[in-house]
Symmetry: C2
Subunit: 151 residues, 2 copies
Amino acid sequence: MTRWPLPPPMARAIELARQSAEQGEVPVGAVVVCNGVIVGEAHNAPRRLTDPTAHAEILALRRAAVALGRERLDGCELWVTLEPCPMCAGAISHARIARLYYAATDPKGGAVEHGARLFDQPQCLHRPDVYSGMGEDLSATLLRDFFAARR
Amino acid sequence: MTRWPLPPPMARAIELARQSAEQGEVPVGAVVVCNGVIVGEAHNAPRRLTDPTAHAEILALRRAAVALGRERLDGCELWVTLEPCPMCAGAISHARIARLYYAATDPKGGAVEHGARLFDQPQCLHRPDVYSGMGEDLSATLLRDFFAARR
């Protein structure tokens, strides 16, 4: 388990992932931070919202953009509990997120260090700085427990 | 130019792309069809909605999911005037779209036959059947004129 305090945005993302599981949604949480302040947050909600695009990252980015009144989130950070999928990695690039922090890696669905490796594509117009691993055990345990309970 | 009538969903997508340009948004339109009926449609609107994810495809998929009351659009078609980007291709896969029709290709931003070629990734869990080219000239002309007017 994590042996030092998580940075507050990742601790909050983990808490959102926990809430996601309680609502029967895949436990992933995401937080957008601008100048040290949370400006958008969400957990996965495709079932509750009847929305195939309602991953935590997409919802957090959309809420942050509305909160800041601009569609490009230059200078902002996205903290998320799981390696983003191609859809979310693409959205992160469109939103011009400056720094991406994710907890657990996702060899099956991730598109940052797996699969399409979207930010490494020559086509990619904006690449955030990427940091991973903080909160990995907590996030992976939430996901494992969620899917184990459904088998 | 196109020498035969476009299928109605693509004609509608082109019309939506035209409306997009009139509103100062990149001219891309998208239509979701279920059993021959349009159940969701949209044009690009990231500026108007202050939403970095508001590509035509994402909005049309979200509207179709709400209209049908289900987050997975099994059996549905997506008709769009431009080759989808990685974000939209990812959303199309999440939404389980059965058939994807797009007009113009997008060597710079597309992720179907260019760049990440998302549906060809071994990771990709759902691949739609893909058809392209119908309405290509109309769509490409709208895009060219839009960007030329802004230079």
